[in-house]
């Protein structure tokens, strides 16, 4: 465990210092822990025990990283790493799932028909489409995309995002509002109003 913590800390620091490849090595290390936590949270069926992205990602990291021993000059790197790893992991996983080829006798039925959603959770978003839309948003407006990444994948609040990104809370809220509408349009989400 100690060796793993040291390895994680080293990789996170390497990633902070600009080593993109470090994230590739980090992901599988975090992944197992994250899945275990997700299972644990989902197994508590009592109402109110809904899965929180914040809890998930932070627990996963805090369990694995000796935060006291880390020289985090600013929290931004930690949160950015957490958000990006969460996003990447979900996308990779969703891709893998989608690409599993099945025999002709297997066919997909809508998820809603197959399984009732656990109480308190809304309909899941299509992670792959969401990721692609977010990448397009980043091309048009990098700041908004970063806000969304922190917000959706890092489970951070407006204040946390504002502090981390060193921008005003009003700007964060505005970015959120605009990005949400833009993403809803890109994802083709419609209502029957």
């Amino acid at each position: 465990m100690v060796a793993r913590q040291e390895e994680l800390t080293r990789l996170l620091q390497a990633w902070r210092d600009g080593d993109r490849a470090a994230l590739d090595q980090l992901t599988p290390l975090i992944y197992g822990e994250l899945r275990k936590l997700a299972r644990f949270h989902m197994s508590r069926e009592a109402p109110g025990h809904t899965l929180q992205a914040t809890a998930l990602i932070h627990e996963a990291f805090l369990k694995l990283i000796d935060i006291e021993g880390v020289d985090w000059k600013d929290r931004r790197h930690f949160f950015a790493a957490a958000s990006q790893i969460m996003r990447r992991m979900l996308v990779d996983y969703a891709r893998k799932k989608r690409s599993i080829k099945r025999g002709r006798q297997l066919k997909r039925v809508p998820f809603e028909e197959a399984i009732a959603q656990p109480a308190g959770l809304p309909a899941p978003v299509d992670i792959i489409a969401f990721d692609q839309a977010l990448t397009r948003l980043a091309a048009a407006d990098a700041r908004k995309a970063e806000v969304v990444e922190f917000w959706f994948f890092g489970g951070m609040t407006v204040e946390e995002i504002a502090n981390t990104m060193d921008i005003g809370a009003t700007t964060v809220r505005r970015d959120m509002e605009f990005a949400k509408v833009w993403l809803a349009r890109e994802l083709g989400i419609n209502t029957h109003e």
């Binding site: 997700a38 989902m42 809904t50 998930l56 997909r108 998820f111 197959a114 656990p118 509408v181 809803a184």
Partner: protein
Amino acid sequence: MNEKFWAQVEETFFEAVELPKEARTTFLNQVCAEWPEIQREVESLLQHEAAAKQLNPSAVVAAAAELFTEDESGLIGTVVADKYLIRSCLGTGGSGEVYLADHIALDTPFALKRPKTPLGSDPQYRKRFVQEARRAVLLKHDNVARVHDVIDVGEDVFIVMEYVEGTTLRTRLDDRGRPFTTDEFLPIATQCAAALAAAHEKHLVHLDVKPGNIMLTPAGQVKVCDFGVARRLSADTGGDTTCTSKADWTFAGTPAYMAPEVILSHQFDERADLFSLGTVFYEMLTARNPFTADTPVATTARVVWSLPNRHFRHLATPPCTRSPLLTAGDPLQKAARPELGTRVLNHLLDLGWFT
């Protein structure tokens, strides 16, 4: 998309969104008179104002929950062979995954096992595997989790089994942490022996009898699971060990219940199951496996060299462990091992427990 366009769209959007809905068109017509592209973009965004409310982090969390909790294989929500709708994963282990599935027409739950076997790599192996599993369909007994069907679809083979609610003997043993009393032991032991007797009568060898494959229902019934999916199946063809034996070992898990002849050779028969069952009985009566060592290799060595833990050699035997039935699990008395589950069953019945 250039920055200026984007900035104007954003600004115009926020101005429009402040206005009541009916005033927006007039406003946009005014300010965008010379910029029809901006007007179109803002109007299209405004149409998604309500839809955007559905988009929040919990939608990602819901997706994460779906991905991370159980659907590792991508099978949840799929229909197998037009008949079985896979609902959830009941468990994953060394030998494969087990899913809870509903037979759509019958509205009845079944357990679908997808064995982790090198099926793709060797068509002959695959054929034998499916054949062997299909033989298990013939086995019908109250104490055997029934195999209903074997489905061969593209890349996967699914074994359709009776869905048994309850706990495994493994869980029961771990939870107790102390030996079973004779009264607790006998009903379970008898039913296990009866299951094996029925299988052996049809010349079906289980080869993976262990507490994890013995289900106990809340009503006290025993169901021995996984007949027909025994892992050592590949070994019986000989000459094949280089390509399959390594895979076998990786999903064989603990050898603590395997008969020495199964470990050492390809020559084995029904008696191998009785060795395993005897070992399970030992564990039930002593709360310890006689062979388990620190590593699988060390455990294997103990089984092979007939070296049960010293602890067991001078065991203060409870009355029923003196019965010949337990010699089934005693490697020191291989020759005396009863040959058939029926014999074990009779011993148990002789001890005074009648169903």
